[in-house]
Amino acid sequence: MRHQSILEYARFRWLKGALLLSVASAAVYIWHDPPLKPYGGTWLGYTLGTIGALLILWLVWFGVRKRRYATRLGTAQGWLSAHVYLGTALLVVATLHTGFELGWNVHTLAYVVMCLVVFSGFYGVYIYATVPHLMTANRGEDTLDGMLMQVADLDKEIREKALSLPDQILKVVNSSLDGTRIGGSFLRVYTGRDAGCPTAKAVRDLPEVGKRLSGDTAKLNHEVYTLLLQKNEILQRARRDIRFKARLDLWLYFHVPLSIALLATLSAHVISVFLYW
């Protein structure tokens, strides 16, 4: 079965729904003849505001729904598709609700935070549309755990073989065995690089150091070098893998807190408006 993106879920059902909502809102907005000028306090303003607020609550509820594996209310795929498209339609509904009246106040803050949430969501959609392919291609048949174990296995093999090599080489090899790390800091995880990786350094240095060797030692050195090359290749793939995972995750560190902040600004906006009705 062909892979179906959440964007085309159920023959673009939610795209159609979102378009319908947006076009209908825009049409009523154009037809509407407010007492002074369009803003959130006309009957249309209240209507769009109510739709927008309910949409926001429903969109935030997705964070709960996606963890409810047992529920039979729609599929997770359908929910995500609706989340994406209705979140986009929210941009139209809320913009029309403002009547393009913006200022330095809590009302505009709510609008701006909402836009940030929606745009971070767009970025998430983009990430989820592009990164998984790359991730799969990078992993091949392996898993991250598998890669790490392969590295560990290689380490063991290298350690055994390198024991009888000259000290100078052993030092280089040992630094790879004892100092190589993956992840551990945000920068290393997010960039997928480790500028001072001892294994990469060993791979660079070993041919030069090994030039003077001969006989069995040279052969052994060559074997160790081959293993280090393999280790380095696996390390690079593993680092790319955690980088892809980090990219899949990072936008949520904005999307989710901003969504919660949006709940606060939205409440402040709604309550203050009616407090000073």
Binding site: E101, N105, L148, D155, A264, L275
Partner: protein, 572 residues
Amino acid sequence: MKLLVITQSRNRAGRTVQVKKEVNADWIRVGRAASSEVLLADPRVALNQGLILDRDGPVYTEGEVGNLTSTTKRAVRSVRLNPGSAVDVGPYRITVLDTPEGYSGAITVELVRPQEDVAPEFMARANKLTLRSLHLPKRWVALGLFAIIAVVFFLLPAGRVLDLPWKGEQSIAMASDRFWNPGPVMLAHQPIELKCEACHEEAFVQVKDGSCLECHQKIGHHVGQDMQPAALFQGTRCAECHRDHKGVKTTHRDDDRFCVECHKDVRGRANGAQSQNVSDFEKDHPAFRLSIPVDKGVKRVRMGSGPIEESSNLIFPHEVHLDPKGVRHPDKDKVKLDCAACHQPDASKRTFEPVTMQKHCQECHRLEFEPAVTKRQVPHGLPGDAITVVNEFYANLALNGVKDSFEKAFGVPGEGLLRRVGQPSDAQRQNALALAGKKASQVSEELFEVRVCRTCHAVLKQDGPDGKPVWNVAKIRANNTWMPHARFDHKSHAQSKCADCHDVAKSKRSQDVAMPKVESCRECHAGSQPSEKKVTSNCLLCHGFHEQQHPWDPGFKPKGKTRVAQGAAGDR
């Protein structure tokens, strides 16, 4: 090929456990994939790690073997599985046993490097691989943002209205409640912009009309409140038309929509409405109504339904006064008059000062009663005052007059009684009194009925209580404000000539009304929709919504300044 696969492992007690399995296939797959015949379930093994093929005996091969048209990508390693030999496949070791009867071969598969054995120190250096494992805060950031926003943008400012512990702490609330202000208030409201409670008196209750009326005390209702149509506006809040915080210029929209909503069928809406339906100044506006003073009060007459005459009781032909050749002047030769000679803008420049006898007429129309002798004039105003002045003048002349004046005035030889030599006799005194009285009556009659008053006024001679005649001068009802509720500004029309709207050059009678028709206005003014070379004009350009009382209210009394001249002949 028929292969016996013995999977060997150790149970918890450390005892060796063997599982035997017979595999019968041409290609025997070795790998992590579940479909592999020789399953090596360890992440360090590839899904399809290798194959065991029959090449005159079992051969283990790994890597891509390729075919005739493609090269291999990876090196191929092939190991012939001879009994007694062993192959390491990842952490597993495949040991070849002696071939049993009926089989092509037999192997033992054993995990020789279990996962837990593997380099724990490297695993320790590779345990923080995800953002979550780095403890990148998501929940705390969310809760922190929520709290900051709730406090700064809600709880602090709410202290101004809600009973919170910091209620009354102006500095706290003021610092942040401007964040609640949705937009600038109109200029006139700016002094109270930061005083939210001036309008928003009660929390969660819409702004009440009382807040508006506290300052706008004199704002008029659109129709009299005791009128039935007031019910049309029942429950209508000020804020339904007036929205503040929408910019500094205005709180309402200046278009016709609200007016037309009712006035397109005003008689259907309100029984007894006297105004006519209107929907647009250019396309659908009735003829103007003029307010004209009559015997009692003012009547309103719609133009176009027949000739309209003003009954000012004044005799005044515009034509004569605007004669291009000029009008006679008592001292000069001839004077040319223009409109501004009599109609001078008032201080507001919107309308005109009332025309008065003293300022505008008397320079030519002098009230001299004995020009042969004196330039004195009778006072303008009450007829009795004028008669008194005349009587006194001739009495004095009869008493004190020098010979020249005496003879010119009375037409008989002589001089004032007191100027004659010797004591006047009774007969002489009676004579002088009679002379003065007769002359005064004659001059008065001439003054009122022929020469002076009659020029401009309707004069009626009556017998007074003492038998002497009195003259009644008809009260002047000169109109000054024809459309008292139209917001017409003469100043903003100053580029036009007076005659463009008021055609009086040929008017011979004061009864002629020279107010422009709606068609004249339409020469320059379009309706609510823009029209080429015309001024777009909505209702509110000329009409006010909040008049003190609406003109069609029967209780309405037009209140133009000096509309009707007061006094017997007007004070002017």
